[in-house]
Symmetry: C2
Subunit: 132 residues, 2 copies
DNA sequence: GTTCGTGCAAACGGTTTGCAACAAT
DNA sequence: ATTGTTGCAAACCGTTTGCACGAAC
């Protein structure tokens, strides 16, 4: 819990009860939730939390560099803790989004694209989850 | 124009004036337009065309395999002709989306991901367009 | 008492849907 | 006459915004 406080302060975010609740959920989230999913989940413990506050808070976190948004789902943004670079795998059955470690996949050739100066990239994969 | 007719028929789509107009624009589009952009552009020549028809038509095209949707833009789907596989480059200044030839970038390692069976993938790059 | 965050409700933009008019077979 | 397509408007969903209340310095 203390680390959450420090994380917010380190990013210049004034901590409030609502922001801590959102941060606690979203920074540990591995599920790439949408804003509404964050609201649903966090509201379970903080019933007075309003949707607007969740949206405001998430946008604030993005602005302050605590979260990144990803356009990986059709129709809604998903939020991802800004940790080390990684790729994404999308289960075509369930739509669930999984992180893929950066070293698991190698991309070559992006440096010498004619006409483009690539500063960021990621591989977006889709397929089925294996039983194992 | 004849090829458009055949393309629609080949995909089991009954051709109508509206569908041909949409197809003509979107199949040649290199700009990855959103549905509303398609509407705006096609309406210039077909002023009676309704937004609903554009949405219905685009969804029909996707259903029938003539178009693919890509979640590359925040807040709106973009449509892409289903041609050969390719990657995407997004200009971080303008948001413009460009196709990157499949052979220009190589991805390795996606076959042996533990737990995932990858059936599709693409590299999504962002950066600046070079002057050249 | 000023500043900032919250909550509500209304507004907004992209998309879908219900329905009545219509065209084609 | 049946089937399928169109156009309009209303509904819908995810998100933003305006504003009044309330908490904190």
């Amino acid at each position: 819990m203390k680390d959450l406080l420090q994380a917010l302060r380190a990013h210049g975010i004034q901590p409030t009860a609502q922001r801590l609740a959102v941060a606690r959920f979203v920074l540990e989230a591995t599920a790439h939730p949408t804003a509404d999913e964050v609201w649903e989940k966090v509201r379970a413990r903080n019933p007075t939390l309003s949707r607007a506050t969740v949206y405001n808070t998430l946008n604030l976190f993005v602005e302050k560099g605590l979260l990144c948004t990803q356009a990986l789902r059709e129709g809604a943004l998903v939020f991802d803790p800004c940790v080390r670079r990684h790729h994404h795998f999308i289960d075509e059955k369930t739509g669930a989004i999984h992180d893929v470690p950066w070293e698991a996949v190698k991309v070559t050739g992006e440096k010498l694209l004619r006409g483009y100066e690539v500063t960021e990239y990621q591989v977006v994969m889709t397929g089925r989850k294996r039983k194992s």
